[in-house]
Symmetry: C2
Subunit: 194 residues, 2 copies
DNA sequence: AAAAACAAACCGACTGGTCGGTTTGTTTAC
DNA sequence: GTAAACAAACCGACCAGTCGGTTTGTTTTT
């Protein structure tokens, strides 16, 4: 009986991502999600306590994905890590363009909803801390120029987010993958010691 | 009767900004806006054709504000303009912290609604063009290092937006005014020829 | 091995309430 | 007096969430 249950839950999540992205958290109704997932409302409330609980589950899944990719880069040296991130940008842009409205939705909900805010802010601060430590290590190693790791971390994250936002607003306004690659090159070049 | 009418309209807009920011476009109802503005629904629909029309009016007003500040910097030299922007960051951060969810709301709605998208994308492209031309001029003048003006423009806008976003998510997580100042210093220093 | 007992998964009609928008009637200004 | 400005009652559609009942699969008993 477990297999069917898992499948249903996966289908709900899949439809939820699709519909929250397309219409927003408020506008995407539970009825819509159920219809899209091909299940009943009863099944929905069997798997999730509330609409918000589903949203939090989505957030959790998304964070797990990021955690995995961060974990994967744990073994590398500092410049290697940054090189990897730089090279991953086009891929991120490409894949994020679909999930991005969803990401923005998290952001917006977090700024309004205490529960969602707390679920968002902890991992955000954790990533920031990790990034800052990485840069600090790079500076201490001598592979980076002397910068304030705290600020540099915020700057890098800002760039990534800003580019994603722009690519969301105007997908055909520029070759975003190219812009992303060049932008991060500019940033990293300014950071790496020659 | 014109005076009272203008006052009512101004009150509707004021309440709309407040409530759209606080609850989002969908969640902020016309009833809520009317109640907050201290008017009736009849008065609302006398002044605005629809909820969306009000939203577009808000966008229009916001764009006019930006236009004015861009116009004000038309007279300056290129490095002067950038210096001004750099110094304006703390002010922007400070004032935007309340209006930012509204700004994000525009973004999100634009990614879903054709009408709002068209009202957003034209000025966005115009600003980008203006910014690119500014950097190009700076490069040609010799005051900037050799960069692709297109990319540099996107990068600068990205940084600004990313910082605003981060400050929205975690207002007390950092001294954002300081981070903004330092970040733009980093960027401009990398751009200006010494 | 078959029946009985059980529990998880699921269904869909229903509820109380809210939504954007309309209609109808009243007030206010000129 | 008449037209713009506003108020209030109202409409059908839709919302998140509930609930009594049904199906489906597993475990226990015989």
């Amino acid at each position: 009986m477990q297999h069917r249950s898992e499948e249903t839950q996966a289908q709900i999540i899949k439809s939820a991502i699709k519909l929250f992205s397309a219409h927003g958290y408020t506008a995407a109704s539970v009825d819509m999600i159920c219809k899209d997932a091909g299940i009943s409302k009863g099944a929905f409330y069997h798997h999730f306590e509330s609409k918000q609980a589903l949203f939090l589950a989505l957030l959790d899944g998304w964070l797990t994905t990021i955690d995995k990719s961060v974990e994967a880069s744990r073994e590398m040296t500092v410049p290697e890590t940054f090189l990897q991130i730089t090279e991953a940008y086009p891929y991120i842009i490409k894949t994020a363009s679909q999930g991005l409205p969803m990401f923005l939705e998290f952001w917006l909900q977090a700024s309004r909803d205490k529960k969602i805010w707390q679920a968002s802010i902890t991992p955000y601060r954790r990533y920031h801390k990790y990034f800052t430590a990485l840069i600090k290590k790079g500076v201490e190693e001598g592979s980076f120029v002397e910068v304030d790791p705290e600020t540099a971390s915020r700057l890098i994250v800002s760039t990534a987010m800003g580019l994603l936002l722009q690519s969301l607003l105007d997908p055909n306004g520029a070759k975003w993958e190219k812009v992303a690659k060049e932008s991060s090159d500019m940033l990293v070049n300014g950071l790496l010691k020659k």
